[in-house]
Structure formats: structure tokens, C-alpha cells
């Protein structure tokens, strides 16, 4: 799952534009006949969606206010460490045991959610803004604008995502959450911009858009009022899927020593530290990776379900 391009390619040929009238099942209650409304109805009934979104909500709360969870077992400060208990297993008050420095693993794992989820959300937010603007400009205006944006995107697209980020990040001496997020976003925007561009091109040539042009609508107004809302669906799906991917990439980079740095608390760092001693203390590896997997899984399942719901052809 560390191969981000696979997520993209599967999403790319996906749904685009407004549903053709004949593809939509007859909306049951008359009140909700919009695409999002339909999707919401569809999703609410899926138990998997409820579970995944609950998990995501819990993780988000954990990222915002880790102290709410960390203190459950009475040792909520991740920086209270007792070297004499180095790599001890689970004990009362310390359900996940101790790491090599003698710090409580549970508190550290809970506090680690913030770094990973922040990077995930930041990167996707940044790429979303970039690709929305650039993609719709390129798609809607075409010609020179399209050429510039597309070629520029091609340049970045040429670098393998992980390798590119690795090389650029090495150049930074101090790497905060923001630095990591910016670098990841730098290599992340081209794929989304492409999707956005093709989806805008599709909508641009729809009859109702042409009609608006005929009625004298301004270009930017057209873009905002008619094109964007109908072209955004695929990108929204991609964004949800992307959060999970980015979290994995952040952990990978941190594990390799070029992502976040101590004293930041992050799952990648915990895994990296655990790697020297996992034979003697497997719990150091298990708990952070459990949380990491759960988070990534929640985001990806969520994204997957949303895509299904938004794509009428899959119904």
C-alpha cells in the first residue's frame, strides 16, 4: 500500500461528471434527489461505513486531544520515562509495556496519532487546493494554461513519489510536520491535478454549460457555478483515499530516518526505534504498527465506500 500510484490509477478512469439521468435509480423520497443526498442515504445503511467513520472520528479526536485517551491507565505523559523498566512488557497501568527508554508505550502511541494524522490531513488539504485550482484552470481554459500546468505536472510526475520525497527531505536539517507535509504535497499534486483536469474537460463540454455560455455567462462564474460542483466528485473520493496513503508514506520516510525527528512523537519514529530491539521486545513493534494499520485502513475503507456511493454506475 505504499505504492501510491495504484490508488490513483484505479480512481482515474472512475466516475466523472453528473450522473446520466437513466443511470439513477428512482429517488425514493422526493426531497433528496441530489447526488450527495443519494450517496448519504446509501452510505448510512452500510455498517462498514459506520464503523470506519466512527474509527476515523475517534482517531481525529485522539490527534486533537491525546490527553483525553492517554491518561486512561494512569500514566498519560509520554515523556515520563523510567530507564530501569526498559523494554518491559505490559504491566498494570502500562497496558502496552515500556519502550527502550522506559517510557509508557500506550501514552506514546496515543500521542503519536497527532503527527501521522496531521501530516495526512495537511498533505491532502494542500494537494486538494492546488489541484482544484490548477486542474480546473487547465481543464477549463485549455491551450497555453493547460500546456503550462500539464507540462509542469509532468515534470513532478516524473519522480517516483517516495524516492523524490526521500531526496528532497534529506536536504532539510530540521524536519517539522510542516516541512514533511510541504515536501509530500509537492510530489502529490500532479496526479490529482490530472484527474481534476480531465473531469473538468468532460463537464466543460456538457450541453448545459454550453447553454450558459450562450446566455452570456462570464467564464469564471461558469467555472464556479456550473463546472466545479459537477467535476469535484472524483477528486473528493481521491482525497479520502489519499489520507491513508500519505500516512503510510510519512511513516515510511520517518522509519528511514528522513521524516519527522525526535523529540517529535510519531508512529514512524516508534517503529524505527523498535527495529533495533524487536527480537527482544516485539511489543515495541506491534502496538504502533497496529495503530498505524488501523488508521490507514479506516481512511481507505472510508474512501472506498464514498467512491462506491458517489459512482452511480456501481450501484
Amino acid at each position: 500500500m505504499s505504492d501510491p500510484t495504484s490508488a490513483i490509477t484505479t480512481a482515474e478512469p472512475g466516475p466523472a461528471g453528473p450522473p446520466a439521468a437513466d443511470g439513477v435509480p428512482p429517488p425514493s423520497p422526493a426531497k433528496s434527489s441530489t447526488l450527495l443526498g443519494d450517496a448519504w442515504h446509501e452510505l448510512r445503511r452500510r455498517p462498514l461505513f459506520v464503523v470506519a467513520s466512527l474509527l476515523v472520528i475517534v482517531l481525529l479526536v485522539m490527534a486533537v486531544a491525546p490527553q483525553l485517551f492517554a491518561g486512561w491507565f494512569g500514566n498519560g505523559d509520554p515523556r515520563v520515562c523510567d530507564l530501569s523498566r526498559s523494554i518491559e512488557g505490559p504491566a498494570s497501568g502500562h497496558p502496552f509495556g515500556f519502550d527502550k527508554q522506559g517510557c509508557d508505550v500506550y501514552a506514546n502511541v496515543v500521542h503519536g496519532a497527532r503527527a501521522s494524522i496531521s501530516v495526512g490531513v495537511l498533505v491532502t488539504a494542500l494537494t486538494l487546493v492546488l489541484s482544484l485550482v490548477l486542474g480546473s484552470l487547465a481543464g477549463f481554459f485549455g491551450r497555453v494554461v493547460d500546456a503550462i500546468v500539464s507540462r509542469f505536472a509532468d515534470v513532478f510526475f516524473g519522480f517516483p513519489f517516495l524516492l523524490g520525497a526521500l531526496v528532497v527531505l534529506t536536504a532539510f536539517e530540521a524536519r517539522s510536520i510542516w516541512v514533511v507535509a510541504l515536501v509530500l504535497a509537492m510530489f502529490r499534486w500532479p496526479s490529482m491535478t490530472r484527474v481534476m483536469r480531465s473531469s473538468v474537460i468532460q463537464v466543460r463540454d456538457m450541453d448545459y454549460v454550453r447553454a450558459s455560455v450562450g446566455l452570456g455567462g462570464g467564464k469564471l462564474w461558469l467555472l464556479r457555478r456550473h463546472v466545479l460542483p459537477n467535476a469535484m466528485t472524483p477528486i473528493m473520493v481521491m482525497v479520502t483515499l489519499d489520507i491513508g496513503t500519505v500516512i503510510v508514506v510519512e511513516s515510511t520516510l520517518t522509519f528511514l530516518g528522513v521524516g519527522l525527528q525526535a523529540p517529535a512523537i510519531s508512529w514512524g519514529l516508534q517503529l524505527s526505534n523498535a527495529s533495533t530491539d524487536f527480537a527482544a521486545a516485539p511489543h515495541l513493534l506491534i502496538f504502533p504498527s497496529l495503530f498505524l494499520s488501523l488508521t490507514v485502513l479506516s481512511f481507505i475503507v472510508l474512501g472506498d465506500l464514498i467512491r462506491d456511493a458517489l459512482d452511480p454506475r456501481l450501484r
Partner: protein, 542 residues
Amino acid sequence: MRMWQRLTALAVGAALLTVTACGGGSDDDGDTSAGSGDGAGAGESTGGTFSVGIDEPDFLIPGRAQGAFDEMHALFSGLVKFGDQSEPQLLHAESIESDDNVVWTIAVKPDWTFHDGTPVTAQSYADAWNATAYGPNAWANNAQLSNVVGWDELNPAEGTPATDALSGVEVVDENTLRVTLKAADSQFPYKLGQPGWYPLPEVAFEDFDAFNEAPVGNGPFQIDGSWEHDVALSVTRYEDYQGPRPNADGITFRIYSDTTTAYTDAIGGAVDIVSVPQEKYKQVTTDFPDSYVAFNAIRLDWLGFPLWDPRFQDPRVRQAVSMSIDRDAVNEAIFGGLYTPATSYHGPSAPGGGTEGMCGEFCEFDPDRAKELLAEAGGWEGPMEIWFPGGVGYDQTFEALANQIRQNLGIEEVTTKSQPGFVQFLDALRNQQATGPFRGGWGSLYPSMQSLLTSVFSTNGDGREGGGSYANPEVDALITQADAAPSLEEATDLYKAAEQRIIEDFPIVPLFYAKYVYAHSSNVSNVIIGFDQVELNEVVVN
């Protein structure tokens, strides 16, 4: 500071105690051709080649190199060597004599040749020493010759020197040298084991940079091709070598940018001998149950301070840091108990006896007293950063130290700051850029208290940046007196007095008496670690 790098290699040991082969029996049975030897008597070699994991050397010219000990000992031979012995063993020297410890006469064995066939003569030594001592060359081991008459003229405070030769070095005849020292030094024969005292062939002086890529040495092995930067360095046995004959036909030094990678490679058998990074000390007994060697080096690990920074000038601040560190806990948790918590400023096993306990209460763990001391000194504001070199397995050690200081001293934020590598780290110290306590360590190149005291704490020391560039004329005077003392007992007493005087100033926080820890694959046996690191000649390829 070359030692610094070797620190990573961790192994130099205590003088008297010889190899502690904590690991297994396989190391002990191979004494066949050990040490003392004149090559001929050592019997036939066992052949084969093996590999050693190293970090990228800065230079291979002995006078210029800060690390690269193993590579240098393969390519070059000096006048004396130590191995795991505490007395200098004559290698190329026939005799080293003096009546007054001031004028030394050194006779070298005839018939030794460099790898290009030219003879190694007294002149080869004199030329090399002049080049090392010549200030404008700026070679790292320059200070090792600082006690020779004429060194001052070659290293003027400003401008270029008027001459390019040490006036205190005289070539008497082809095989005899006479060295005149500025002050009497009974430890002079020990000092000759340092790389600053190695010879160079004539070809070296044509172009040092070209020579550095493929050195022509006088050691047991000659270079095969040239130094492939960041990849490897291969050597094959030099058949005309007159010293003890190596067992192996050749060695490949594999260059790693991270010692942990080298360690993992050794587990997989991709490299035969590696120095074990600190973060693997707890694993090494499981990963290499029968094949790791921990040599009781005379080696001290400490925390140095930026003494130029006003926040660290009060000795009570430094003492408070010292008392806030639970050395036993760090030793157990990070090093698996391999080290010994330090209680003085010098390793435990120097000739003349150790100085354990000299540091007194300030090296004992006492958080309450530590907080009091810090408060008396005016407390601490803001974050404290601990500096260390990255890529050599120190991360967990310094994280543990930072946690100790933070929790036990009640400083809100104590963080670690790693530099990309040893070279950058040492530059930061030398340019006084470090803004907080930093990693310090010294593995004595020769088993005399003189090595650590002079190199780290004297005004002319070649490793003084590791002690925060500490300088005290009283200490200098005591060391000079000790050097001149006629007997070992008197010398030891004076060295101890110097150490006592340094401890009063408390420039560093001593942490551990460290060891050099190596691990080897089952491909090789008879791996002996000593003051010169790996005894390459002794290694037997199975």
C-alpha cells in the same frame, strides 16, 4: 580527534587487562602466530580473504587521517605497536633509547621496503614528520609532534614558517634518527605508535592528493587498485614485508555510511568484522553469541560543554548535569551492562593504577542535590540541546541521557540534535557552534595517562575540542612535569594530580569507561582487538 571516529569503533582498551573475549571460545584458540613475531617464525599463513566494515575515511595519509585506523594499520607500519599489550612492542624500530628523556635515539631495522620497492630509511620518517608538523599543511595529526624542538617554528601564530623541517629531528645515518624534545617525556616510546609518527615514501611528496587515493605504504598489506570512495578499499598481502606475516591473503574494507547497516550485513555474513554500534549492545550477545569481542580499552565517554557559552560557565551547572544522570540505569538499559559507569576523568586501567572514585559525589546519581546545585548556580532557562554525531548508532544513548537530564533536573525541554556525521560534528565543536552539551570520548591510542590528559585537556591537545576547548596553565604545567618524571610511579602521581586539578574545574561530565566492541562472522576466527583496533595480521580465515 581521530580517536573520535575510532570511538565509534569503540574498542580501545585498557592497558593491563587484555582482551576480554566475552564472546566465545573460538577466539581463544588461535594464538599460533600471535603478536611478538618476526615474520619468518610465524609459520605459513592460512590464506583466504576477509572483509571489514568501516566508515568512509577522511584521508589515508597517516599524518593527515583522523580515523581510518584499521585501514592505516594494514597499509602502514610504525615504529612500535601495542596490540592488546600495555607496553609498546617494537615493530619497525630496532631500539628506542634515551638517557635523559629529552634526546631520543631511534634505530630502525634495515631491509624494510615500501610497496614500490624503495627502502624505508630514517629519512622516510624524518620527511613524513616534517610534512605532518608543517603548519600550512594543516594535517590533523600535527599536534602529535608538538613536543619536538622546532615545531613552534613550523607553526607560527601567523604568517608562513621560515623553514620546512623540524630542527629537533636529525638523520644520523640511514637507519638512525635522533629526536630532541622541548621538554623531557618518559612516555615518548608510547607516543611513537600514533599515526603522526609513521613514515612516507618519496613518491608521496610529489603529490599528496594523488598519493592519498592509492597510498604506497610499508605495512603488511598493499593497496589493490585505488580507494573507491564510499564503496570499498581492497588490500593484498605484501610479500616482502619484514614484520610479522599476516595470515590472510587479502582484506576488503567495505565502506558503510551507517554502522547499523554494517552490523546487519555482518549478521547476514556479507561482511566479516564490524564494530558494534551502541544501540546493538543489547542484541550482540544473541546475534553473535560466540563471536563478539569487547576489549577493555582505556576509553572514557563523557558529555562535553560549550565552555564559551555563558550559560555553561558555572561549574555547578555542569556538576548538576553530572549528578542528574543515572549512569547505571543507562548502562543497563542501552549498553546491556557492557560499560562501566565512570567515576573519574580517566579510564580505570592505565599503567600505574586507575583513578576510579576521584570524581567523588559529583559522579554519583543524586537528583535532589543536582537540583540544588542548579538552583544555586541560578537555575536554567529555556531548552537544552544535546549534540551528537548521527549515523553511528548513538541516537538511543543520547535520547536516554536527554531524558535523564530533563526528568531529574526538572528542565522543561531537553532535546537531542544530531549532526550528519563525525566530520560535521567535529567541525561544529571546533568552530564553537555547539549550543549545548555534546558527546565526547577518547580512546587512548597508547596505554598511558598521558594520551587522554594531553590530547583533551592541554592547551596544545589534538582533541581538545572534545573537552569544550578547556585550557588551564596549571594543568599544562602538571602534565609537563609528569612527562619529565624519571619513574613511572612519580609520573603517575603527577598525572593524577593533573587529573585532580581538572576535576576541580569540572569541564566535562564523565559518563562511562567504555570498551571497543567488535563482532565477526563465522568466516573468520582469532579476531583480536587491541589499542590499534583489529589485529588484522592475526585474523584467520576459516
